[in-house]
């Protein structure tokens, strides 16, 4: 089996439009949640979100490209360009055939759908732009990545709601480990902060109207974010031979399904995914120093996740650190696991554990070290990243310091 390392990273999210800016915000415990600036916000009950501000697509893409790129595709390409530049490779030779793209997104081109439904239903128009379908489809971003970089191997999109990008990165890892590919562009993106996207979430009554406070007794629900993070995964021997800077090594992945409820999480399903990732990586529970939690700030998730961690780690649960960075970058739905991988890189590369900001009151049902409000200096050899989706689909990755 091949070893798999990360040699490129890129992002755009509410904290920053690149990796250094995002890591700086995470170090400082700076949040990106604020008033939403979108059309018809006055008709929403939820008026806050972690929105990408100051994004000007015309600075990055041609007019023709913008006609074809939904906001989530724009985010994906912007992040991928950073990752590919850092990896320092081109795909014109044989590598292009042995590299693929696996991305996660839940809503795909939802902004395009929202705008065009508005045009035909609300404004009564009977004609839409010819590119609506290629713009809104869930695989559009993956396709545009393959075209931009001339990547000709296996490419596809996975959609498992809030676990989408963890599933994507896990599959990319498995494809390199098995020898099916030499390298993969992977991660995920979401751009759901449009009227219809938020209105739909309001219906479930799990959204906060004031703040995201994961693990805090006075939590009031989740806050949506948006953005993308894209990574270049490659086979370790290749990275070593070419002298690439290795950001981290991906060492384990597991996925499970709860098979129980369409919205309520299950402790057993989450615990099986966490334990499975440890087993896949050949780790003992004591090896893990930090977990980037799913930590949505809903009552249902936070209590279930803490109970699952306590079950898997036993006494070590009290010694490891867990934090939810969603209080900073918001819950970026299908892109969230990819953005949260940046928090894992911060821990592994800079010995800084990003905090759970917005934390005010201990919850006896979340009695773990959640790194409240302030980042902490600590050296951790191995970290996990949790993602637990609606529909009971769980995906956990294990990552360690660069070899």
């Amino acid at each position: 089996m091949k070893r798999v390392v990360i040699t490129g990273a890129g992002t755009i999210n509410a904290l920053a439009q690149d990796v250094p800016g995002t890591l700086a915000a995470m170090r400082e415990g700076r949040g990106g949640i604020g008033p939403l600036d979108i059309r018809d916000v006055d008709r929403l009950n939820v008026k806050i979100g972690a929105q990408v501000k100051g994004w000007h697509p015309e600075d990055h893409f041609s007019r023709q490209q913008i006609l074809l790129y939904d906001r989530y595709t724009q985010f994906t390409l912007h992040a991928a360009r950073q990752a590919v530049a850092q990896a320092g490779l081109d795909f014109d030779g044989h590598l292009g055939y042995e590299t693929g793209v696996v991305l996660g997104t839940a809503g795909g081109g939802l902004t395009t759908q929202d705008e065009n439904y508005r045009a035909v239903y609300e404004e009564g128009k009977n004609r839409v732009h010819p590119f609506v379908v290629p713009k809104l489809m869930n695989n559009a971003a993956a396709s545009h990545l393959s075209m931009e970089f001339n990547i000709k191997g296996p490419s596809f999109t996975v959609a498992t709601a809030c676990a989408s990008s963890n599933h994507a990165m896990g599959l990319a890892f498995q494809m390199i480990r098995s020898g099916a590919c030499r390298a993969m562009l992977t991660g995920g993106a979401e751009a759901m902060l449009c009227f219809g996207g938020i209105k739909a979430w309001e219906g479930l009554r799990v959204m906060s109207t004031d703040a995201c406070r994961p693990f805090s007794l006075n939590r009031s629900g989740m806050v949506q974010g948006e953005g993308a993070a894209i990574y270049f995964f490659e086979e370790y021997e290749q990275a070593r031979r070419r002298g690439a800077e290795i950001l981290a090594e991906v060492i384990g992945f597991a996925m499970t399904s709860d098979a129980s409820d369409i919205v309520m999480p299950s402790k057993q399903g989450a615990a099986r995914a966490i334990a499975g990732a440890l087993r896949d990586a050949g780790l003992n529970p004591e090896d893990v120093g930090y977990i980037n939690a799913h930590g949505t700030g809903t009552s249902a998730n936070d209590k279930t996740e803490c109970a699952a961690i306590a079950d898997v780690f036993g006494p070590h649960a009290d010694r490891l650190m867990i934090s939810s960075t969603k209080a900073m970058h918001g819950h970026a739905i299908g892109g969230t696991g990819a953005i949260e991988m940046l928090a894992c890189l911060l821990a592994l590369r800079e010995d800084v554990i990003p905090p759970t900001i917005g934390y005010e009151e201990p919850d006896p049902e979340c009695a773990l070290d959640v790194v409240p409000n302030v980042a902490r200096q600590a050296r951790v050899p191995v970290v996990l990243s949790n993602a637990f989706a609606f529909g009971g689909m769980n995906a956990v990755l294990a990552v360690r310091r660069a070899p």
């Binding site: 009950n45 219906g203 479930l204 009554r205 799990v206 959204m207 906060s208 939590r219 009031s220 629900g221 369409i262 919205v263 309520m264 700030g297 809903t298 009552s299 249902a300």
Partner: protein
């Protein structure tokens, strides 16, 4: 309209719980009726639609919402209050 707020709320809860309205007692809790979290959120949506009101309820802190859901009677009283405030 002939039906009282109470009768309409009970009819909504009964439909969600798949029960006859006559079998619902005012002192029943929503758990007694077998309503889970999705059933509760659906009931509140149905109440909002039926009375054209906005119900202050967040599933993360049901105990802290101003909307009392501790029993069928409490829900009826809360809806009566919201309907009266709308008329005022």
């Amino acid at each position: 309209m002939g039906e009282s707020v109470k009768e309409r709320v009970i009819a909504i809860l009964a439909e969600q719980a798949v029960m006859e309205p006559a079998d619902i007692r005012m002192e029943d809790s929503l758990e007694d009726l077998g309503l889970d979290s999705l059933g509760l959120v659906e009931s509140i949506f149905a109440i909002e639609e039926a009375f054209d009101i906005s119900v202050p309820f967040n599933a993360n802190e049901p105990g802290k919402s101003q909307f009392d859901i501790s029993s069928v009677a409490a829900v009826v009283t809360a809806v009566e209050g919201l309907v009266a405030r709308k008329a005022a």
